[in-house]
Symmetry: C2
Subunit: 188 residues, 2 copies
């Protein structure tokens, strides 16, 4: 039984998102391999988390590239961003459980990622699509929070995976108040 490292990483990340204090022994059991094998791939918790983060940064980078945030309206770009983030969401949810200082301080890649998302919100504000009443910093934080929250809800079965993109962007763009909400076609 040869294990695909990426698959192991994903399964381990999933388990850790639910049980952030899990031991290596517990993780190994949960994903169906031996502790020795887990150790051969990720020599301890530190290295496992570092691999998760590395993977998250790489995938977020790819997602952002695929989303081409400078093209089209800011609203369209936000849709593309959310869709592109979906496969990375479980990783982001896990990183949230490790504390807020990890992303910013341990991997330089986050700075660039944050800056690009921040710039999207700023662009939307400059173009008049997005309100200037809420700071771009808060909007970026809110975006991450909603993505992580959605990932957890999907994982726990409270909401359907197919609604991921829609529920985040709909709430982020239009909020919950009925008054002022666009009809279904106005977004595009």
């Amino acid at each position: 039984m040869t294990s695909d490292r990426d698959q192991l990483l994903r399964a381990a990340a999933d388990h850790l998102a639910r049980r952030p204090n899990a031991t290596q022994d517990e993780i190994a059991k949960a994903i169906g391999i031996s502790r020795a094998t887990l150790h051969r791939h990720f020599a301890g918790r530190r290295e496992l988390l570092a691999a998760v983060e590395e993977s998250a940064v790489t995938r977020m980078d790819e997602a952002l590239r695929a989303a081409r945030l400078e093209e089209g309206t800011a609203t369209q770009a936000l849709h593309r961003l959310t869709t592109a983030c979906e496969p990375v969401a479980p990783f982001l949810a896990l990183l949230y459980t490790q504390g807020q200082d990890i992303p910013e301080q341990t991997h330089p890649g986050w700075e660039d990622i944050d800056e690009r998302i921040l710039e999207l919100f700023r662009r939307g504000q400059r173009s008049g699509e997005f309100t200037p009443d809420l700071s771009a910093a808060w909007l970026t934080e809110a975006f991450y929070s909603l993505v992580a929250g959605a990932a957890w809800s999907v994982q726990s079965g409270r909401v359907a995976a197919r609604d991921f993109q829609h529920m985040i962007t709909d709430l982020l763009l239009h909020g919950v108040a009925s008054a002022g909400r666009p009809s279904r076609e106005t977004d595009r």
Copy 2:
């Protein structure tokens, strides 16, 4: 130097929110007491987290009671809820780092709390104030996510504490898109 248990709990929770894997030794140092004293108040990590959760449930219960969610419009109630949650937000942020299964499974109090928030969103949907396009389950999850995200942002200095209530409810009610946003007075 006599330590106030509640104050210790608060300080420990703050530290743990930033460093979820911190040892008791590290926590004790960070909050300025000895490990022995920390142990006298909270006999180990398990007991510390249990105290945090107990405190969070109690405070959320009080917050919900103070917010009187059945009174007035759902929109008004949401404002009151967010304001009332503010002092509990750092505890909620910490509980997020401990995994999503902790709140629902370890303390029965969360069920009641969740149900009351869920009911607020449902009430808003029934009255036509809130859109039926987004599930109440997602809205409840999103509410928690934004509260935790705001708590982290305030803690890290990225946004100002005085903006807590406004930035959450504004985003949750109206979203970020300029089109369709109410003027400043339409909320009340």
